[in-house]
């Protein structure tokens, strides 16, 4: 019995979950909201953005709820002044790292980063902004890859690999120099593997991968990976 169900406390509320569940899943299943960004239901968790951090009693480190499995008698806090402070800082850093001028961005009004910034009241950054400019890849007939807006969440990579199954997209370099690449760092139009399915543009949380000539509000489909995985036989 205790093998199959664990008991834990989230924000003072006693809840039950499967041992394979992550903290995030257990929270969502019990109506507790934790902010996320790189996480997308239906894709393997990446644990990169660290927006979903929570406090776990007895553990001095903050844990990413999207990747940390639950365990028996865990006590978790999802919202505290400390967590809010960290989340705000993460949003600030994301905004500062590439050129996020919402007012002239194609994603203005349908961007998850912008939404988070406004939810957390981040209206400026305390770190100096990096204005380095990257060349866009506009070579694909239907899609644009604009590195200047990319937050390196890897949703596009995961959806292309796990759902479409072609692994056209990947990442090169490390840290702040990381860049999304197509195949072996080629222009998108030269890609042999890309099936032009558009899943990457459907899940990109910002205006970094999008469909040419269409408002983002029409092409964003965050629920796509969940929808597809649920229909697949396991």
């Amino acid at each position: 019995m205790s093998e199959r169900i664990v008991k834990l406390i989230i924000d003072g509320k006693e809840i039950f979950a499967k041992p394979t569940d992550t903290i995030l899943k257990a929270a969502i299943d019990n109506g507790i909201q934790i902010p996320t960004l790189c996480y997308l239901e239906g894709l393997t968790p990446h644990g990169g953005c660290r927006l979903c951090v929570v406090e776990v009693k007895g553990n001095p480190k903050l844990m990413t709820s999207c990747t940390t499995p639950v365990s028996n008698n865990m006590e978790i806090i999802t919202n505290s002044p400390k967590l809010i402070k960290y989340r705000k800082q993460i949003i600030e850093l994301l905004l500062a790292e590439r050129i996020h001028t919402c007012s002239v961005c194609i994603a203005n009004g349908s961007c998850e980063l912008q939404e988070l910034a406004s939810k957390f009241g981040v209206d400026h950054t305390n770190v100096s902004r990096n204005w380095e400019r990257f060349e866009l890849d506009m070579s694909h007939e239907r899609f644009v890859l604009d590195h200047n807006r990319c937050i390196l969440c890897t949703r596009c990579i995961r959806v292309c690999d796990e759902i479409e199954g072609v692994h056209t997209l990947d990442i090169k370099r490390r840290g702040k120099d990381s860049m999304i690449i197509v195949d072996l760092d080629e222009p998108w139009s030269a890609s042999y593997s890309c099936t032009s399915c558009g899943k990457c543009s459907a899940v990109c949380p910002v205006g970094a991968i999008y469909v040419k000539g269409k408002p983002l509000s029409e092409t964003k489909r965050k629920e796509l990976p969940k929808f597809i995985t649920e229909r697949r036989r396991r």
Binding site: S103, V104, I106, N108, G109, L136, M138, S139, G213, P215
Partner: protein
Amino acid sequence: MKEIVINPVTRIEGHAKVTIFLDENDEVKEARFQVTDFRGFEKFCEGRPFYEMPSITSRVCGICPVSHLLASVKACDQIASVIIPETAERLRRLMHFGQIIQSHALSFFHLSSPDLLLGMDYSPMKRNIFELIEKYPEIAKRGIFLRRFGQQIIERLSGKRIHSGEWIMPGGVKTPLSKEKRDMILRDTPEALKMIQVTLEEFKKSIERFRDEVESFGNFPTYYLGLVSEKGLLEHYDGKIRIVGPDGEIVADNLEPTKYFEYIGEAVEPWSYMKFPYYKQKGYPAGVYRVGPLARLNIVQKCGTPMADKELREYRKLGKNGIVESTFLYHYARLIEILYSVEKVKEMLEDPKILDENVQAKSYASREEGVGVAEAPRGTLIHHYKVDRNGKIIWTNLIIATENNNLAYNMAITQVAKKYVNGKRLDEGMLNRVEAVIRAFDPCLSCATHTWGRMPLSIHLYDSRGKEVDRLIQENLP
């Protein structure tokens, strides 16, 4: 040589500085209008996808964003090789009329009326819209109503008041006009017509009082340039370029707006960031031309709406051969254009075609170049882009409406300075007049980083060795 600097000019949009040069006898030799703020928009755009241009460039200005939007989107239509649906064009025009009404109302009522009604010698601390509301509440009310009327057209079409960069898009506009919104705008038009008519009547009656200003506020011959419709009527969105000479003769007509570089030269001067466009065939600086309301009324046969045409006939009596030269009369021309725009708004809204739902044509980049030209409230506005084969911007050139008048500013300021400046002291009345003549042009210099009325005014007096010997600063005009 002494140098007087008025810096920055208050109650115009953006940053500016006026420098007046005196000769050894303390007589005004020359005056220059300088723009010291460089924003580098052209550089900023390189590498971006062409369809981002409307939204980026409409931020050149917070006062006339719709005009930039239109010039930009027309350039994009060309790059995408698309002919937009008829009603998309109607809606774009409609929004532009909203822009013209609100911009002209701002210029006349909020920015210039304090000078006109309270007088140029009125205490500068109180020569502003608030004092106007106090002393002339009826007039201030009309200004506020007309401005809102224009703003609401923009808002009701796009859902946003200032930046409509997502509504106007290459290929047309994003959403059609709903019947309710149409009726809302239409409901306000009779009131708007009445208000602009009353204002025109009052302005005409007051003209006698401004005889000095009419004579000396930039009253000189130039060429006039702008768009006219196929029939030679007033045109703000499309049409062909016409250039009219100082005596009213048409010196060039039916010019292709996209070939502007064949007849407009762009000179540069080391002391200003603003370019100096001129009529190429006459050379620099002899080819000085003016744009904007005054120029537009000088180049057209008629406006094309009954009430505005009646006013135009009366207005033209102030000129020779129907050509009105005085920069001061830009104000008058602006009022006639407001009347025309309100008439047009009514006419367009009464045509059921305005509700047509086919407002978008789809297309991608297919040409390497596009030029969009529109008549902004302040005059002819040109956006010119070149793109690579994927539609990435590689080169841009913008000629902003205000720039077209650049040569004329210097002439106008020199004329005013010669009449009113006494080199031995800084006298407020004359400074106000220097500013007022600039405001008559209604320049819009960089963008709305500063709003009217909140800029400090500083005046510097230099001696012949370039040493500052006097300074006058008024902190934060209310």
